[in-house]
């Protein structure tokens, strides 16, 4: 038997004490979010009705490169971090590639994904500020699961709006959230004005992250001592996720290598930014040559086929206008199994970095992602989440390119979560009933035409 893996784990004292805020280092800062009514740039105070104050301040902080991780949050991190950095010898061998493939295994968190890194931080700050209830949206359910548990940890009540298609496709995610004590509602629902409006127009609406966000925000602003929390897209969420890349940086040092290519799947940007930004600081500061690749679904291709524009973060238009790559806030993605990637826009930081050429993106059809995930499972013993399968597929593309050229590139990807709650998807894949979804140029254009042009 040849070597399958090698794991690198940090000692407890090496777990980072600060998150990295790339905004401070960016040459072109992200454009400000705008008040949709006045078109005025938002100040942190404008976000206080929706988010905890500390999070609102982090969101717009473009000056401090390092933000202290509060001790109670770091204490919770210690229960599952550092997550392992793994040299994937098994996958390399299965591909016959000279590339060195590493992955950061975020699937070992108690809730099965990287999402807990931010959920704990958000729940902590809410608790500190006297909040008693938190709301959120969730797609596949990874974020909702993380927030449900984090709320329980810090003694908050959690209400989760889960995208209807995922609620139906993955009933066990709902059960997990309920087991952790959260209240879970399929979105669109009749419990909010936004949900009612959507269902009135389209009674069979299957929901999207955009619709669920509208409902969760509405509940937050209409409930006392209640704040909204978000699992991706926003800059403070990505900030919390930089714990991934900061650990990986130290772990790659233990492995004696430095990545040539860093890959993450892409929904709103938090797991991609989480692993990429700490490394990217060396690119921005010192011109270090590294490729950063975001892997998005071919059926929701905002980075590869969207436009850079101010747009709403949700369907109902409750959020500020954000400067981002978008397919239009009314874009309704196909019902792929990677529910966490079914979002019309990209976070403002990633959008600016993509525009400025610091990173690139690829879009990958659903079947290729499951080919990749199954190969990975057999080689490495971990069944990846459908979202993470996008990162694996992009990694395999690069590794096979190395096989052609003979280059021994070092590739690092983020295994954002496991797929144990997504076995229905694997079942469809194994039985041959899974298929790809095409997005026509006409679909893209039709949606984009609805966006008011500001930039």
């Amino acid at each position: 038997m040849s070597k399958r893996q090698k794991r690198f784990i940090l000692s407890e004292s090496d777990i980072p004490r600060q998150w990295y805020n790339i905004q401070a280092d960016m040459v072109n800062k992200p454009l400000p979010p705008l008040n949709p009514a006045t078109k005025e740039p938002l100040k942190p105070e404008d976000l206080y009705p929706i988010f905890a104050q500390a999070l609102s301040q982090q969101e717009l902080n473009q000056t401090d490169a390092w933000i202290d991780i509060p001790e109670p949050v770091r204490e919770m991190y210690k229960y599952y971090r550092s997550t392992p950095l793994v040299r994937a010898y098994g996958l390399e061998k299965a591909l016959g590639t000279p590339a060195h493939i590493y992955f950061k295994n975020e699937s070992v968190s108690p809730v099965g994904s990287h999402k807990l890194n931010s959920a704990l931080a958000q729940a902590y700050y809410c608790k500190q500020e006297g909040v008693t209830n938190v709301t959120t949206e969730t797609g596949a359910g990874q974020w909702g699961t993380a927030l449900s548990y984090a709320a329980k940890v810090f003694g908050l009540e959690a209400a989760v709006y889960q995208v209807k298609i995922s609620y139906d496709q993955k009933p066990y995610r709902r059960s997990i959230m309920q087991t952790f004590g959260a209240q879970v509602t399929a979105s669109p629902s009749m419990s909010t004005r936004a949900g009612k409006d959507i269902l009135t127009r389209d009674p069979n609406n299957q929901g999207s992250l955009g619709t669920a966000i509208s409902e969760a925000v509405e509940l937050a602003v209409s409930t006392p001592n209640c704040k909204y929390t978000l699992g991706s897209v926003l800059s403070h969420v990505t900030l919390h996720q930089t714990i991934i890349g900061l650990e990986a940086e130290k772990q790659m040092e233990m492995a004696g290598e430095y990545p040539d290519i860093i890959i993450g799947c892409f929904g709103g940007g938090s797991n991609f930014g989480g692993i990429a930004f700490p490394f990217m600081r060396h690119t921005i500061r010192d011109g270090k040559q590294t490729q950063y690749i975001a892997a998005e679904p071919a059926s929701c291709p905002k980075l590869t086929r969207g436009i850079f524009q101010y747009d709403f973060g949700d369907v109902a238009g409750y959020t500020p206008l954000l400067p981002m790559y978008t397919l239009g806030h009314n874009f309704m993605p196909a019902n792929i199994h990677a529910g966490g990637l079914r979002y019309h826009g990209a976070g403002v930081i990633v959008s600016q970095l993509l525009k400025d050429g610091y990173m690139s993106a690829v879009d990958i059809p659903q079947l290729e992602t499951f080919d990749a995930g199954t190969l990975f499972a057999r080689a490495e013993g971990i069944i990846p989440a459908p979202e993470s399968c996008h990162a694996i597929a992009a990694t395999i593309r690069e590794a096979l390119r190395c096989k052609e050229t003979g280059e021994e590139k070092v590739i690092l990807f983020n295994l954002s979560g496991h797929g144990l709650i997504d076995m229905a998807a694997y079942d469809q894949y194994l039985s041959g009933s899974l298929h790809n979804y095409e997005v026509t140029e006409a679909d893209v254009q039709a949606n984009l035409s609805g966006i008011e042009k500001i930039i």
Copy 2:
């Protein structure tokens, strides 16, 4: 926020290099397995048609207290071991108990349970001896999943007979095994004589571990280069699982405590023996006072209500006669969700130890196990397997006893696996549709009356 957990992890070099064979230390050795036809004690050679030779020898080894872990197996162990020992402050607080509760978290293995510890060893020895195909049975699917992955690691083909009720209740377990490349068949099936016989008598038979074992053994002996493997009950399986207790011993030392009570759930005995036996050597050798408690389902109470007797390990009577606590090999357990505990007998080592008073057993109703599992999930962030919920429930009983008496006992239990594939069970529990199953004394007696008395 008060402390929730503290984790203790061993360095790679501290991962044990030998398994502990308690048979060498036992005062009264287990009685020998008998050839059912001749009633003669079995020699290792008699097992060679079914099992790998190395495993057959381990099975009957009553002299060597320490068995070297082959380097390729230990290399694979390093990919997920040591598993964490966790001080469960969260659970202690939820119970308000002065007891110190620790758990060994085997759920972090790539396949989600302790089963991989033996699957890797069994697949390795089979490969060493030129075997190309392995068969096995599985209940809930934890063992089948482990063997499917271990077979893939060592380049073997795996055929798994899954108990029909679990195959239907937990389709995603099947998908996981298939994703790892195994062939999975619901048992009883029409693919073996044993299966056909059962279905002819009872077309709606839902299967049990006993029926699945019969089918897997039959396939093994009738297929060239094919061996049968078993996930529990047998002494060599428990031998491999002692890695759990050996690690826990070092980790409890790191924590500066020694357990007063050690608890494991009980199906065939491998996870219980795995955590208990290394500690029990101090009881046998030095008279160390420790309580060892096996937690079994009230619906399958072989330790608490069975008799000590020679009996078959399977329904069809293909296996040797084993001296064990049994409910009779035709006992058909109720369809509880803890599929891994639905077995009529106990391993020969545990049976002898129970008879000799070294350990005790408790039986727990299904609802109490899910009460315990849900409380644990909210307190510790891990959703336990229905099997493991039995250990948690027994732990909670002891911890509440400490609350009454004020004793600060140190309790250690084995969290044998996570319950992420068992969310349908939690869903039933949360919706109030789960219930208990009673076993009447008449049921027990009716089954036992069929066993030929040898001892």
